[in-house]
């Protein structure tokens, strides 16, 4: 039963980060390409993260009802900031000489973005995804409050029943998950950087 | 004034300073020179105790500095670091006033000092005192870095490659200024460089170091006449040509790295180029590559618009020399006008290079050395 709760937590995090990338990456690119949209996009994702997580989940629950869908939507909104932000910054920071070289070779804006700029910005983007993943693992403890399950339910139950073992089990599982993904993704990023610098 | 007695410094097993002993008289301008990593900076920093030697003693005015409180010691020694290091959170005035403030000078006194110093380097107090370092050009920042070291009128000033990152024009201006300051303020100056021409221009005495040891300590004339090692000779020969001075031509002294643009280039592009290269003028070419004149940043400012092409601005007719002209004639021209350099032209009026004032100084030092051979 405990294993299934860990898996449930992981499922929530995985789906959220996945959709967050699907939504956040294009938004970051958009912010990079379009000066007017840039301000709005960066501002909105920042505001989203200032809303207390539980409140955000509660608000979404009003529309989508209690359950996993609400949790995933909430966590996606919550983890957009690092992904959008890092995509934008990563693209901005691509060496201007390289951008110019791309132009000089007659690549179109779109070509340059796909074949030069995004690949070069990818380590930065990936760092954004890593931050989003680790944050989401923590924030997902609120899922249980809107009927989404996950490790939050064990911790809540532990607190309610004053069961220290349950609290410690939930917390440790959470910490290990966070640290594991953090290290794994740092390692992957290191490989990515090494490969691209060869 | 400053005396080193058998000073040694090691990092791990590497000997950085190897039994250094020398003496610097009050009011002397001493230049430390030598290949990269020979220990110049280390020597300089041991004078104000940023580095502590492992062995040996350093005396200032007869006092062993290891017995002086480092903070007090440093307030009596001006220090210009290689990377300028102006505090970005402080205005120019605050930067210059940093030591006087600690020595409890009155506010009005500090202001007066700042104003005087800034005037000495042709920067108006009104225009610049309240700016921040990031708002100044590299050359202006280096000037302020030097002024900060001078503000509390310390008897000793240490300068670590203070003009390292400058273009030749600004560099020679600042060299002139430092010589003026030295004459006027009568400080003892220890100056690090790896540019022999700079050393020859500035020094009363040159200390040539190699691998933590002094190879030769001599006046510029002496060093020119009798370089003590092949390496020193090499250092001096680097930019010299061995030909006899009377048949040296403009071609022998011109810099072939210069920035020229066609008239049709946009003004915006030109100002970008100037900003990137830290230069204040561009050579203008006609479509057939012939020389048309120069445009200075001042002329662009006066023109007022950044749209349009550079050809819209009437170029300034700078002095020119033919490439085969005698070098001395080119120098005389440069002396006689306000222009900052001579444009050297090929026979078909295309641009071959420019001769700057530093180029000229180099030439003179080299020729002198050549003569003594």
């Amino acid at each position: 039963m405990n294993i299934s709760i860990i898996l449930e937590h992981f499922y929530l995090v995985f789906m959220s980060v996945l959709f967050s990338v699907v939504v956040g990456l294009p938004l970051g690119v958009l912010a990079y390409l379009n000066q007017t949209l840039q301000k709005i996009v960066l501002w909105v994702v920042e505001i989203l993260q200032t809303i207390p997580a539980l409140a955000l989940l509660g608000l979404i629950m009003i529309i989508f009802g209690a359950g996993k869908l609400t949790v995933i939507i909430g966590l996606v909104l919550y983890s957009l900031l690092p992904i959008v932000h890092n995509t934008f910054i990563g693209l901005e920071n691509v060496d201007s000489g390289i951008k110019e070289a791309g132009k000089g070779m007659g690549l179109t804006k779109y070509d340059r973005l796909i074949s030069v700029e995004i690949p070069l910005a990818f380590p930065m983007i990936f760092t954004g995804i890593r931050i989003a993943t680790v944050t989401t693992i923590g924030v997902a403890v609120f899922a249980t409050s809107v009927g989404g399950g996950g490790l939050g339910s064990i911790i809540n139950q532990g607190i309610r029943t004053q069961n220290m073992e349950l609290i410690i089990f939930g917390t440790l599982a959470l910490m290990i998950m966070a640290i594991f993904f953090d290290m794994l993704m740092i390692w992957v990023n290191g490989r990515l950087v090494k490969r691209s610098s060869n | 004034m400053i005396r080193f007695e058998n000073v040694r410094k090691k990092y791990g097993d590497t000997v950085i300073l190897d039994n250094l002993s020398f003496n610097i008289e009050p009011g002397e301008f001493v230049v430390l020179i030598g290949p990269s990593g020979c220990g110049k900076t280390t020597t300089l920093k041991s004078i104000n105790r940023l580095i502590t030697p492992d062995q040996g003693k350093i005396f200032i005015d007869g006092q062993d500095i290891s017995e002086v409180n480092p903070v007090k010691l440093r307030r009596k020694i001006g220090y210009v670091i290689q990377q300028i290091g102006l505090f970005p959170n402080m205005t120019i005035e605050q930067n210059i006033g940093i030591v006087p403030k600690r020595l409890k000078y009155s506010k009005s006194k500090i202001k007066e000092i700042t104003r005087e110093l800034m005037e000495m380097v042709d920067m108006s107090f009104e225009d610049y005192a309240h700016k921040y370092p990031s708002e100044l050009s590299g050359g202006q920042q280096q000037r302020i870095g030097v002024l900060r070291a001078l503000a509390a009128s310390p008897p000793i000033v240490l300068m670590d490659e203070p003009f390292g990152a400058l273009d030749p024009l600004t560099r020679s201006t600042l060299q002139d200024e430092i010589v003026k300051l030295h004459k006027k303020l009568k400080k003892t100056i220890v100056f690090v460089t790896h540019d022999m021409n700079e050393a020859l221009d500035l020094a009363d005495k040159i200390i040539f170091m190699e691998k933590g040891e002094i190879v030769q300590m001599a006046t510029p004339d002496e060093m020119l006449a009798h370089p003590a090692s092949a390496l020193i000779r090499d250092f001096m020969r680097k930019s010299s040509s061995s030909a006899d001075s009377s048949d040296l031509t403009a071609a022998d002294f011109m810099k072939t790295k210069f920035f020229s643009v066609y008239k049709k280039r946009s003004i915006r592009e030109c100002t970008d180029l100037m900003a990137r290269q830290h230069i204040d003028s561009l050579l203008i070419k006609n479509d057939d590559n012939t020389y048309a004149g120069i445009v200075t940043i001042r002329a662009i400012k006066k023109h007022g618009k950044s749209s349009g092409s550079i050809g819209d601005i009437t170029p300034h007719v700078n002095i020119t020399s033919n490439i085969s002209e005698n070098a001395k004639e080119s120098f005389d021209k440069l002396y006689a006008t306000d222009d900052n350099y001579v444009v050297v032209l090929e026979d078909d009026n295309t641009i071959a290079g420019i001769i700057t004032k530093t180029g000229m100084a180099t030439a003179m030092a080299d020729t002198l050395w050549g003569d003594m051979q």
Binding site: G58, Q162 | N89
Partner: protein, 210 residues
Amino acid sequence: MSFFNTYGERLIDAIQIHLFYVLSSVFIGFVIALILGIILSRIPRYANIIMPLLSIFQTIPGIVFIGVLFLYLGMIPATVIIALAVYAIFPVLKNTYTGLMDVKPEYIEAAKGCGMSPIQTLLEVELPLATPSIITGLRMSTIYTVSWSVLAAMIGLGGLGEFIYIGIASNNNALILLGAIPAALMAIVLSLLIDGLRRLIVPKGLRSLK
């Protein structure tokens, strides 16, 4: 109307309590973090071990801090404030430390060369140069704390979380909104205030650098 008659007073109370939790815990956390950050920056060799350990500690969710402290201290405001303060420490500490470590050595050397004592160097050069980073940390801490303060209601200690918890439990949308909107506004207003503070105290010469 009757909705506000019923909840108006309780809402004002809740906002005050929430704000009190946030301000006191951020204040305490900030002071501790600043001091720790300065100390760690003086001993970088140990900091290289301590910082990663702290970041592991940071993965413990706030809910656990509050829950465990609740078991030991009981239902008193100190439980919430201590838990939130502990949580507020890390972003400020991390940013203070990296801000100080990122000060270029040339400025420190120049400061020494000008005869500044270590304390003067810290106060007049290093800390001013690190302020942009420190304030970014303060902003993060504040936003997180507004968010985690919602948990006070979990152990019956009021604040805006009360409306949210009751609303979720009783499926009362209006109550959820009544808690969520002021909480979100509080986070936004506080972060705007901190942006204002940044404009006031980040040294002018650093702004054009960015």
